[in-house]
Symmetry: C2
Subunit: 498 residues, 2 copies
Amino acid sequence: MQKELQFYKEQRRKILAFRYVDFLTGWDMQTDAATGSIAADSVYQSALNEISYRLSTDPEFERCVETLYKQREALDDVLRHEIEVTRKSVADAKKIPMDEYVAFGELTSRAYPVYVQAKQTSDFELFRPYLEKIVEYCRKRTVWLATDALKGYDVLLDMFEPHYTQEKYDAFFNVLRERLVPFVKQKTAVPAPVPDWAKQKFDVSKQRQFCEYIRDVMCFDKNFGIMKESEHPFTSGMGTDDVRITTHYYENDLVSSIFSVIHETGHATYERQCDPALNLTFCGGGASLGMHESQSRFYENIIGRSRAFWQFHYPVLQKTFAPQLDGVTLDDFMSYVNRVEASFVRTEADELTYPLHIMLRYEIEQKLIDGSLQVKDLPAYWNAKFTEYFGITPPNDAVGVLQDVHWAYGEMGYFPTYALGSAISAQLYHAMSKDFDVEKSLSSGTTGQINQWLGEHVHKYGASKYPDEILRIATGEDFDPDYYVEYLIKKYSNAPRS
Amino acid sequence: MQKELQFYKEQRRKILAFRYVDFLTGWDMQTDAATGSIAADSVYQSALNEISYRLSTDPEFERCVETLYKQREALDDVLRHEIEVTRKSVADAKKIPMDEYVAFGELTSRAYPVYVQAKQTSDFELFRPYLEKIVEYCRKRTVWLATDALKGYDVLLDMFEPHYTQEKYDAFFNVLRERLVPFVKQKTAVPAPVPDWAKQKFDVSKQRQFCEYIRDVMCFDKNFGIMKESEHPFTSGMGTDDVRITTHYYENDLVSSIFSVIHETGHATYERQCDPALNLTFCGGGASLGMHESQSRFYENIIGRSRAFWQFHYPVLQKTFAPQLDGVTLDDFMSYVNRVEASFVRTEADELTYPLHIMLRYEIEQKLIDGSLQVKDLPAYWNAKFTEYFGITPPNDAVGVLQDVHWAYGEMGYFPTYALGSAISAQLYHAMSKDFDVEKSLSSGTTGQINQWLGEHVHKYGASKYPDEILRIATGEDFDPDYYVEYLIKKYSNAPRS
């Protein structure tokens, strides 16, 4: 067994090295690389994907994992979990033909710059051939990876959130549909215009300065990560010691970059607070996308849009932009950042209408995968369904079907984890509030006590347990969407002044 | 033979993919990665180095290269050259024990951030243990790679500039010593103080704007590369379609960033103008470091410090910084950028004293490798030798022995290529001037015609021939340092006004 373990760890180190390469190439593609370079570099990336695929599906490695799996009772909890998960991922990887795997990597590398251009020019037809190939691959994936328990879209959902199937998501979205949709309709019936003060231009270098301040408020350690700019904000990293976030500054939007930074720093805090002993294992980083999103949304919405947070930090914002915000009170600002309205773009949507954006994508992905919706019909379908849910019609595809990058990356089955994450964040908030006064802790000027609680109850486990297990440990309960609905209804029943 | 060629090309593609990884990790380390992250990431890099080492020394690959080498007369010129060079590099790689190779990669990854800190705090002792290990490895390398023809320091020199040994460099430096050193002594005897106008603060964002203008003047295509900032300016890339440069802006120095950009764009132009058919072969990129440096220095000094260049672009500089340069004439500016004085820092040295900085490093490296100088004695030796050559003593190690990053990267034998490159640039200038009026071509507002000549006579060959071969093709002559000495004496005999 010692020899098996040694071989396993040696192979794991190499596989992780290729994850590091993936992280770095992705980071480069989204931050530095010039458009023409991305296409050129995809040749190297596909060679690397091929080598990495061979490593992960090496028959020696598979045999070794199988041997360890049979003796798993002798392993410690973390390694046992890792072996279980790795056994499944090796089996899954082997079910995908290598040439298809490599070609898909190259396809998405090439799709990304085309997607960016299509979005910039609102030209769906430019991106359509790529998206058709991506959907076709995702459908094939559901066939290759099908098991007795998982078929069709469930196969894709499970890749991003283990143990969450259409059955569970349907139940969750049904609760939202029944309890939240009527409430949202009522709240969006009254227009909430953007106040004049928020229509000013806000100097980007001042935005940058304030975002650096917020990063420090959230205790992000600059020695082990950086904050940069990209088209679409994201968090990325490798282990606990290299955690990177990006944001995007808009001169005509004061708060977009701020909430992006709070959101991404939420992700980053999760990565940073994982037990460092899990570095160089497959159990580092977050437990799942849903769990990850629960952290980013917890910080962004529950903390970042709370009065307790801004009571302390709004004066700093005012000072940074002085005299632009001199006549704008904390009340005005809170109303603005908690405005509710039907809007086109998911990433800019308010907390209350947000899950409806996800429901739309969830239903569309179901149809794309089961074949009842074709890519060519997607823009029309998107706009019709959007109008049905929100009562407004996207004026172009850039703010409609082309707004999100996920499909260009080949990620289908990912979106539902966003809504799930929001719901989990409310359940965690409920549990945290039993242990200490969350709002009061913010008067210290940092999120330190909150970070500590989440570190202890969620972050430290990394991916060494399944996300539903961690939720049970942290809250003592199974997933319960009622906490989310109750949180939202309570918060938004006191209609923010506009 | 077809089968052998197919295997060769397949393996080459993978080896190149790891060069892409090297390029990207290096780029990241020097531009984005946080200090703490660099150490953490070195674990992955060493795993990748190991995989890459195994690929390059794969016995199947070695056998295949040997087979192709035996049939090399049947190959086209480029492939024949490639097989010859690859056969040597595989043989060399196999002579280095894998554990030593991997450990050295990890050592230099860890040494870099320590070096940066040591330089920042001018604390040689901090960096000393790393440098001792690096020198020890370089000495071992000279033993592993020794042949009948190459021994000791020659082994290292050949790695950076094939066909250039101590015998040739000694002859070159002797010409400089005899003809240039007395001239330099005479020119530096009279102090050349920095004029008051140059002691102002120059807004960094305006510097950035002007450097972007200069990048365009040099026809650098933004679709296939980027310009970023780093501590030490450098050029990096992969193939003709991903070429990146960096610069460093100093508020108290107007021209440092400008000449860095001209220099690095010179390197970049070389890479960009290589025959694209050489992409995805081992013959892409520059022929050698000396040849590369000949291009960067050609643009930086011969073009970038010429009156013909600034006649056109100085008014733009004045306008960018208006009204700061309103009273400063073109004559004043030309005198300033061609000032000659004894100074401490190589990268900031003027064109005339520059080769003396290289001679110093060349002599020190010879002694470190033959064991007659110990790392612990290096700062004192550096300062003594520096005083002898320049008549001034470095006030601290940051502007003395710690000023250059090369040794931290493990690069010994690299420095002499800088002086060689300067000399080659003068020889190329002489040849180019026979074909067209170089100065006159600058009145078009770009370096287009110069780029074209260099593309046709030097760049297109990439590394498909040895550098001395390319020089012969481009100039019709072997390397001749007299062109360099004559160029310098002619230019600086008309003492710039100060």
